[in-house]
């Protein structure tokens, strides 16, 4: 990816925050799910961000600029809760189900932070865009 201007910065940063919001909604949607095996239980997803510098390693791009992107989406290695619910259709032969370990409070904080940061980047780029538009009209 080539980072040439502030729009490239916003493009990548906003899509990274969008991935983060998507993982939050996946986690929230699976907050109450159960599984009949320990391995099959849902584990929360988290994106890992990394910085992309403009002009690094011979890439074309302007110095001083950097943006962020999602390097990978990892699953958090948390132990599923083993609950004894013999009447549950998903229960194993001993009467246990494995509940997903999504902490909804944690997800809410994650969601708020991601949406605030999305807004910040958008606000920044829209300010710069206004300034650019005004500069185009210079001398008129």
């Amino acid at each position: 990816m080539i980072v040439k201007n502030v729009f490239d910065v916003a493009k990548s940063a906003m899509s990274a925050q969008m991935v983060r919001l998507n993982t939050v909604s996946s986690n929230m949607a699976n907050a109450q799910t159960v599984s009949d095996t320990k391995e099959g239980a849902y584990r929360p997803l988290r994106p890992v961000f990394e910085t992309v510098y403009a002009g690094q390693m011979g890439q074309e791009g302007r110095d001083g600029l950097s943006t962020t992107r999602v390097r990978e989406v990892v699953t958090l290695d948390r132990e599923p809760v083993r609950a004894w619910r013999p009447d549950h259709p998903m229960a194993d032969e001993e009467g246990f189900v494995y509940e997903s370990v999504v902490n909804t409070d944690e997800e809410m904080v994650e969601m708020l932070e991601a949406s605030r940061q999305y807004q910040n980047v958008l606000e920044t780029v829209s300010t710069l865009r206004t300034l650019m538009a005004r500069t185009v009209k210079m001398g008129q």
Partner: protein, 128 residues
């Protein structure tokens, strides 16, 4: 004659272009507010402008001189955080947002002054 025009406008145009560069740099910091290990960058605007405008410690008066003050990244430094965070990220949103707001305002100021200079020149040309 063209030199006179250039001299007349150069300080504001240099300042405008540096403000634009700094704005992009601050936008990069804001974009990386959640990236672990990212170090926020910024430039010393006054020093870079002084070097560009030729009033720095070593002015370039001949084409064969080396420019000591190159714009942008060459003079960009790293921000010292007010409250360091555990993940090694030195972006503090409040700081970056305030710097960005100030930078935008000063960009607009430079733009207004440049516009006034241009309209002043136009008025002089028309002789009204």
């Amino acid at each position: 004659m063209t030199d006179t025009f250039r001299d007349h406008l150069s300080l504001f145009s240099t300042s405008l272009s540096l403000r634009e560069q700094r704005g992009a740099m601050l936008a990069s910091n804001i974009a990386n507010a959640a990236t672990p290990g990212f170090k926020a960058r910024d430039m010393d605007f006054q020093a870079v402008l002084a070097a560009q405008a030729g009033s720095g410690p070593m002015a370039v008066s001949d084409a064969r001189h080396f420019a000591t003050g190159t714009p942008g990244a060459a003079q960009a430094g790293y921000r010292v955080p007010v409250n360091p965070s555990l993940d090694g990220n030195t972006v503090e949103l409040a700081v970056e947002q305030m710097e960005f707001a100030e930078n935008s305002l000063r960009y607009q100021t430079s733009l207004t002054l440049l516009n006034r200079r241009i309209s002043g020149l136009m008025q002089a040309m028309k002789g009204e």
